[in-house]
């Protein structure tokens, strides 16, 4: 399987008044084609930041300090470094090739626009060519229609529309739509595109199993339940069939039964579209259910990456182990991890987990453990396993 996304040495810092926060520290991560990669970890460990970095959406005072994020747009092409391309290019990728679902559906939707508007916005933006072609088709069909009075009156207008759309079709970057869009009355000429986009949006809503999607398209976010909102957000993210979908805790604010529905939906859509997913969660249960591979994060860096069965059956890193032990199980008291998550302004030296680690050795205090492959597909960053290959140590 090919790598879809390769993150190398990603470092993100926040320059706050109180000091510099090293939020991501030399993060390395590969995501393969058509896989679901889970990113788990406690609050504040940098999961969301990793996702935002991929889309280059980190806003001040945060800054991507170094690293590269290579993304394979189409099979075979040279992968491009998302951090090196221009603003225009990254915008063309956002929402069409890579899209994102946010944690809180109610805040991810703009309260003053209808669901339909918000979904069709992304379609209008990235699938213009398609829309234009469809529109031209419709107009041509209309022009060929019967010579009724209405048609006679409307045809000149339609001709103008068609020539405008043809101009756009010939040159997608043509300035025409922008010019026309600015002029109040002329704006109507673009209405057909919007209508087409609306139609596509509605079919998209249908696809995410929203009942009565025509009506929902005309509703405002506050009129929907959390589960429906999240479906709308998913529809928005998938509207342009991205090859890479980032889902940042998409079910955390939902109930288990609804969560179940959403997970099922994501699973289905993913397999239908053959895309890759970066699934961020802090729920180890959910991760176990949906991911192919999992990366465990702690305080801005990854400590273990493994296939899902491998990780749950055979966790190696002390943090992973502790995390799994902390999950409540019937009949037994959960095992707590001692200590607290470090202050991001004041990260411990060496391995960031060492103050809480029962197996910390002298080296842990001074050196950051590098990530290495212990068994095939099982990566770990811990001094305890340095030099070993394969097998388990405990």
């Amino acid at each position: 399987m090919n790598e879809l996304l390769i993150i190398r040495n990603l470092t993100v810092k926040f320059y706050t008044y109180d000091g510099v926060v090293q939020a991501l520290d030399n993060l390395d991560l590969d995501i393969k084609q058509e896989e679901t990669f889970g990113l788990v970890g406690e609050t504040g460990c940098g999961k969301t930041l990793t996702a935002l970095s991929i889309l280059r959406l980190i806003s001040p005072p945060g800054r991507i300090e170094s690293g590269s994020i290579c993304f394979n747009i189409d099979d075979g092409d040279e992968p491009i470094d998302l951090l090196a391309i221009g603003e225009e290019e990254i915008r063309a990728i956002r929402g069409s090739k890579i899209s994102m679902i946010f944690q809180e559906p109610s805040s991810a939707l703009n309260p003053v626009y209808t669901i339909g508007d918000q979904v069709s916005e992304v379609i209008l933006l990235h699938r213009r060519q398609e829309l234009v072609n469809k529109a031209i088709e419709t107009i041509t069909a209309l022009l060929a229609g019967r010579n009724s009075l209405v048609n006679i009156l409307a045809n000149p207008m339609r001709l103008a529309e068609r020539s405008l759309y043809q101009k756009i079709a010939q040159n997608p970057h043509s300035l025409w739509p922008r010019i026309v869009g600015r002029i109040p009355i002329m704006r109507r000429l673009l209405q057909r595109l919007k209508d087409e986009a609306k139609k596509m949006a509605i079919s998209m809503l249908k696809e995410v199993e929203i009942p009565d999607s025509e009506r929902v398209a005309q509703q405002y976010p506050h009129q929907l339940s959390g589960g429906m909102e999240q479906r709308a957000v998913i529809a928005m993210a998938l509207a342009c069939s991205p090859s890479f979908l980032i889902a940042d805790e998409p079910t955390t604010s939902l109930d288990v039964t609804i969560q179940d529905q959403i997970l099922e939906l994501l699973r289905r859509l993913k397999s239908e579209r053959e895309s890759s997913v970066l699934y961020i969660t802090h729920d180890l249960g959910v991760a176990a259910q949906i991911c192919d591979r999992i990366g465990v994060m702690y305080a801005g860096s990854l400590c273990e990456i493994a296939r899902v069965d491998d990780l749950y059956a055979n966790p190696l890193h002390p943090y992973t182990k502790a995390l799994l032990a902390a999950v409540p199980k019937p009949g037994e008291e959960p095992h707590a991890i001692g200590g607290t998550v470090p202050d991001p302004l004041n990260l411990p030296s060496g391995c960031r987990f060492h103050p809480r680690c029962s197996r910390a050795i002298g080296m842990c205090r001074e050196h950051v453990p590098p990530m290495h492959e212990l068994a095939s597909g099982h990566f770990i960053a811990c001094h305890n396993y340095q030099g070993e290959t394969g097998g388990s140590s405990c």
């Binding site: 915008r91 956002r94 929402g95 899209s99 703009n110 309260p111 003053v112 916005e121 933006l125």
Partner: protein, 348 residues
């Protein structure tokens, strides 16, 4: 639909408020003793001989509620009393002076609102850049400026150094004669509009010239207010989740700001438009006074300093009513912009 009930409720609430407004105003009137109130009719001590007669004639020594009854009945008949300073009934004084103030407001309000919104969003979109600092500083200084002082400073410059460029009053003498001549029809009494309707460029130019200084004075302070508010609410809107969503969609920054952030940022701005209105009225009083621009504000000031109680109270009442209705309009606009209000769910 809930919205309709909401509007009806708002309209019904206006009744007790207006009733309270009349009570408050009448209460203020009671701060004067009967002799003093009678003396309000007196401009010269020689007229004072008949004071007892005046007290009796106007029933100034009657019980408060009887007086209130009379007063409110008169008000219901549209009689707000006699405005001494302009020698006409208060109602017709208001009608006569309204066009001038309206003309001022017609120019100042869009400047304030659109200017404030534009600059505020610009500043927020370029947070911590030079333009942001400049607007912030401008806003805070502008907001601290005493209107009357600004007016006087403008006077100092434009009457003293560039005298004649932006003259006082509403029209020059010649143009005033033109406006009142038979050849010129006063459709609206708003000179600008009338000039356009009559196709008279000279009147148009002249009245514009006369508007410049008052409009500047009126605009600066309120513009600063809106600008500040817009900036902060824009910043807040820009921090919301849906902005991130919009960016993640691949929208360019301009669209993100103008489509997604601005509309939401406008909501808090709208809720304070009542204050803008109040600011305008406050400003109008001072501005018109300074520039001898004969409008409602000038009249209110004249009434106040000349103790023309009917004038002051009439103006206050007029304002009260206008303000209550302005707020109603604001509420409706609010409902228009924010679907959460329009479609129920957040109506409080």
């Amino acid at each position: 639909m809930e919205l309709r009930a909401y509007i009806v409720r708002r309209l019904l609430l206006i009744i007790p408020v207006l009733f309270g407004v009349t009570l408050l105003i009448f209460g203020l009137l009671q701060l004067f003793s009967p002799v003093e109130r009678a003396a309000l009719y007196v401009t010269d001590p020689k007229q004072f001989a008949n004071i007892a007669e005046v007290i009796e004639k106007y029933g100034l020594d009657q019980p408060v509620w009887v007086q209130y009854g009379h007063w409110i009945t008169e008000i219901f008949q549209g009689n707000l009393g006699w405005s001494k300073v302009v020698s006409q009934p208060v109602t017709s004084a208001m009608l006569n002076f309204l066009p001038a103030t309206l003309e001022l407001a017609i120019f100042a309000t869009p400047l304030i609102i659109f200017g404030g919104i534009f600059l505020g969003s610009k500043a927020a979109a370029h947070k911590d850049k030079a333009i942001d600092h400049a607007t912030r500083l401008g806003a805070i200084v502008g907001w601290s400026l005493p209107t009357f002082w600004l007016g006087l400073m403008l006077l100092m410059v434009f009457y003293g150094l560039f005298s004649g460029l932006f003259p006082p009053e509403r029209l020059s003498t010649e143009m005033n004669i033109v406006v009142h001549s038979e050849a010129f029809t006063q459709y609206t009494k708003l000179h600008i509009i009338d000039a356009i309707l009559n196709g008279n460029g000279r009147v148009l130019l002249d009245s514009l010239r006369h508007l410049v200084l008052p409009v500047i004075t009126l605009t600066v302070v309120n513009l600063a207010f809106i600008m500040r508010l817009m900036r902060s609410s824009m910043l807040e809107a820009l921090g919301k989740g849906y902005i991130l969503t919009a960016r993640a969609k691949g929208l360019d920054e301009n669209t993100v700001v103008s489509k997604h952030a601005r509309r939401n940022a406008l909501i808090p701005v709208l809720t304070v438009s009542g204050y803008i209105f109040a600011g305008l009225v406050n400003g109008v009083v001072i501005t018109e006074t300074i520039f001898n621009y004969k409008g409602l504000g000038w009249w209110a000031w004249q009434s106040a300093v000349n103790l023309d109680i009917s004038g002051v109270l009439g103006f206050a009442l007029f304002n009260g009513v206008l303000f209550v209705f302005t707020n109603l309009v604001v509420d409706l606009l609010y409902a228009r912009i924010d679907p959460r209000v329009r479609l129920g769910g957040k109506v409080t």
